[in-house]
Amino acid sequence: MQKFNGMQDFDFTTRLGDLILKNPVITSSGTYGFGEEYTDYCSPAYLGAITVKGITPLPRLGNPVPRLAETPSGLLNSVGLENPGLEDFLRSYLPKLSNLHTAVIVNISGFSLEDYALLASALQDYASPNNSTNITSNSSGIAALEVNISCPNIKHGGMAFGTNPKNAEEVIAVVRKNTNLPIIAKLSPNVTDIAEMAKAVESGGADIISLINTLLGMSIDIQTQKPILANKMGGLSGPAVRPVAVRMVYQVYQAVPLPIIGMGGLTTWQDAVEFMLAGASAVSVGTANFLNPLAPLEILSGLEEYCTQRGYNSIRKLVGLAHRTC
């Protein structure tokens, strides 16, 4: 196990509004299973938080295979929100998550406003008791909800909630009505104006913004002359998308006062510094886990070294520095 808190007086505490984490390194929804898969390599107790796979009201089989296609420095996936559904999640997964000694963020996905309302109110009952004063960790229950608004809205022709500001605001407002948990609105990058989306979810009542979800992409097999993914299109993640993600974090930081969780191609501690300079208060590690299960730990120790070498006694000093004008 790597050591990453050498300097006793370095303050790793990360404040995302009322959500207070012991450090800024989170793992991303859909890339870290239900927290148990990576325990052989990296104890979740070292992480600021983990985000579980997107949960829907009912169980979902997801898309057929192939679900993965590799692209230059990127990965296309079309898992299609395979998940055990709310009931089984609460029964079989949440209890185990509470043993991991880290803050648990539950990612929720829906295909209608009702779906989101149902998930929010059901999960409210499992809220972690101490989510507004203490560091959220070592505590059972859910620390925050991350609302995945990149899902297609079945009632509106399948256009994703997250690509229209009005719909995005509505989804967040519905979740707000049904929970006291901190709400993280997860933005889709497949939009013309990310700042406008950030303002919309702020109006809806989001406490925190996370971005980016995957970029919509496609890859075609020239032998079969068909899309590689059974679902044809999929979400692009990994280092390839990092410049787009950093740009969006930078824009959202200027557009709204909400704290930001930055992600998208974040693979090394240098990338984590880049996202924090752009304006992220915390960072989330996704595809990088597949390349290197130790990535979250290496990012933690790199962040600390970067800060202490520059005499910053707190991780919070980094946030948004790239916006300084001189």
């Binding site: 990576y38 052989d40 996936n77 898992v79 390349l291 299960p293």
Partner: protein
């Protein structure tokens, strides 16, 4: 479990145009490896290609702490792997997956298609051939391929085998599934005992999906339990991304997903929903 393994050997074996390499790794993986499991190897430091590559464990030497892998150069990733030199460290997650059931008695029929023979090598290696009668049926493109895929090692293992090639350059001309049908049509079991008393006959297979589907159908028709080792594109290799699923039919008749990297790569042939397109 995040393991740096040292490369002991990494070289082309057989005919150059077959592009088959033997890779021997020294380290922790060997300590707990089981036949049918795999390692997930980082082939380079760059982000292109991005992902690790899954490769089956074909030989296990616990004393020397070495595992043997055979791989065929298929693209950018395996090509980069060939450039790693002896004594370099590679990052290999593993051993991963569940592996084959290892019978301690009775008879075992192994069916391999192409490079699908590699995981079966390790199964043969760990079996006590004194107690279990083993026969391997192996189909390949042609003689050059079979010889390049370390046919000699198979002969050295001393098991009973029969091969087929598409062009007839070695063994039976045709598909390995033909060999299997023929094998089961004889009144004798593959290893010579009466078929009626063959309660302990099992099968294990690895190869292309179409072949495994056919093998499963033949085995089930003959009431032989069969394990198949599946391949699927993988990202994490440890069950976290749900990229590599296989569709199975549960006891309740409902379709379910299982992860090839975690609940597999070895599955009970009967549970696989071969034709599911959901």
């Amino acid at each position: 479990m995040y393991l740096q393994e040292r490369v002991v050997e990494n070289r082309l074996i057989g005919y150059p145009d077959q592009g088959i390499y033997k890779l021997v790794l020294y380290g922790q993986v060997a300590k707990s490896a089981k036949p049918g499991q795999f390692v997930h190897i980082q082939v380079s430091d760059t982000y292109d290609p991005l992902l690790r590559r899954p490769l089956s464990i074909a030989g296990i030497d616990q004393d020397r702490e070495e595992v043997t892998i055979y791989y065929r150069v298929a693209g950018k990733g395996t090509d980069l792997l060939t450039r790693i030199s002896v004594n370099e460290q590679v990052s290999a997650l593993g051993p991963l997956g569940t592996g084959f059931t290892i019978p301690h008695t009775g008879e075992l029929l192994l069916i391999a298609g192409g490079i699908g023979v590699f995981p079966l090598y390790s199964l043969i290696q760990v079996l006590s051939t004194a107690k279990v009668s083993v026969k391997l049926l192996w189909g390949g493109e042609n003689q050059e391929f079979l010889e390049s895929a370390d046919f000699n090692y198979l002969k050295y293992l001393g098991v009973d085998y029969e091969v087929s090639t598409l062009d007839g350059s070695l063994g039976y001309q045709g598909l390995v599934t033909d060999l299997l049908e023929k094998e089961l049509k004889t009144s004798k079991t593959p290893t010579g005992k009466e078929i009626k008393s063959a309660r302990l006959l099992r099968a294990a297979a690895c190869g292309p999906r179409g072949m495994l589907k056919a093998v499963t159908a033949i085995c089930l028709k003959n009431d032989i339990p069969v394990e198949v080792s599946l391949e699927e594109r993988m990202a994490c290799g440890i069950g976290a991304c749900l990229g590599c699923v296989c569709t199975v039919r549960g006891k309740d008749g409902n379709l379910k997903r299982k992860r090839v990297c975690k609940e597999g790569p070895v599955f009970d042939g009967e549970e696989v929903a071969w034709d599911a397109e959901v």
